[in-house]
């Protein structure tokens, strides 16, 4: 019995209609990738690059703003803040009673440890043991301030106990009844007037800006790459430092 074409097709159709084959696991992975469900993994490297660029720019901005805002006022602040403080201590230092000076100086060393009077600390110890002190008159008045504060509370001051040695030490203090000269001595140390003026580094060119950003990251003397800071229109590379290879164009 011969089979018609239609019948032949139907046999194929019916037998293959329910034909099933289990696919491999790779197919679902491929579908997932195709749908972009694993996109995050691919995006991460780009995020990392973007983040590092932002950090670099932020570092550059911070560095730049520090130059402008911090460096300038530094000079003024020294004059405005430090100077009056020193003069104040100096002026007060002259006031204390001359009679209780030396005894209270010992108490002052115990109670208060001023960081800027370490020198006088040692000297006062020797004074305690009755050694004649040859100390500069500049330091003494400060001790008097501290001394006068402590002695009044503890009532440890005995004017009778003042020996000749201490009197010798005290003499210069009594005589330094010139606030004007003391102020001058203290303030001279930190007088900002003598400090050399800070050279302002302004950004004129694109090369300058790159130098600033690179300097924020690379703290070495010779940066990884340096650009010319001349006022020319084009910025040229003037130095490269790759660790082993160093090239620097001399100006």
């Amino acid at each position: 019995m011969e089979m018609q074409d239609k019948e032949f097709d139907n046999i194929f159709s019916s037998k293959l209609n329910d034909f099933e084959v289990e696919p491999s696991r790779a197919v679902w992975q491929g579908i997932n990738d195709g749908l972009g469900n694993n996109k995050r993994k691919k995006v991460l490297p780009f995020l990392g690059i973007a983040a590092s660029i932002i950090v670099l720019i932020a570092a550059g901005i911070v560095f730049f703003t520090q130059k402008v805002t911090v460096v300038k006022p530094r000079v003024k602040n020294r004059v405005a803040v430090n100077h009056p403080a020193k003069t104040a201590t100096a002026v007060i230092a002259v006031k204390p009673h001359n009679t209780i000076v030396q005894q209270s100086a010992i108490a002052a060393n115990i109670v208060i440890k001023p960081k800027h009077l370490i020198k006088s600390n040692i000297e006062n110890k020797s004074a305690k043991h009755g050694v004649i002190i040859q100390q500069p008159p500049i330091v003494q008045p400060r001790q008097q301030v501290l001394a006068s504060a402590t002695t009044t509370k503890n009532e440890m001051v005995k004017p009778a106990a003042i020996d000749t040695a201490s009197m010798i030490a005290a003499t210069p203090i009594v005589k330094t009844d010139k606030p004007a000269t003391l102020v001058a001595v203290v303030s001279d140390k930190d007088k900002p007037v003598d400090t050399p003026p800070v050279k302002k580094h302004r950004i004129h060119t694109f090369g300058d800006m790159l130098n600033v950003v690179i300097a924020a990251v690379d703290k070495r003397k010779d940066k990884v790459i340096e650009f010319s800071n001349t006022d020319g229109d084009e910025s040229t590379i003037t130095g490269v430092n790759l660790g082993i290879i160093k090239v620097k164009k001399e100006n």
Binding site: M3, D5, E7, G34, L35
Partner: protein, 189 residues
Amino acid sequence: MMFLEHKYTIDTLVNKCKAGERKAQEMLYKQFAAKMLGVCMRYATDRMEAEDMLQNGFIRVFQKMNDYRGEGSFEGWVRRIMVHSSIEYYRKHHKMMQAVDMDEADEPSVNPMAMANLDAKDLIVLIQQLAPGYRMVFNLYAIEGYSHKEIGEIMNITEGASKSQLSRARTILKEQVLKTSNKSYGNAG
């Protein structure tokens, strides 16, 4: 309505897939993957090609999920996408055989009893041995039910070329069926 594990119906899964839920996509894929690979196997030369077709087909299913309006069965909709994915694959990877009208060769006569001994796997092997053009036309006409006109448009060939390719495909298949059945008979005897 078909019920799946976790009490999800196909409709529920379809809605979840439309919302882009990855878990629902995976469940829906697992539900239809084996059956759809069976479809792709008929259009492919081997299993590897079939899996490529299946992968591309399912990507399109999930991308076009919003196009499914619930008219007709979802399985039928997925199946049509798989067929189109297979055609797309064929267009990309096989040169279109611009078959001209051929003189029909004498077709060998096949006894229906010989066909009864062959199972689906045997028939798949026979189809996969056909030249790509013959295989496409035979699948689209004999199994999917497309007309020669539609096949001509899909494959960019004339209607006559589609007819002659179908005829040639049938002849080859019948010869192969006879060979296979004779071999089976010989082994049995």
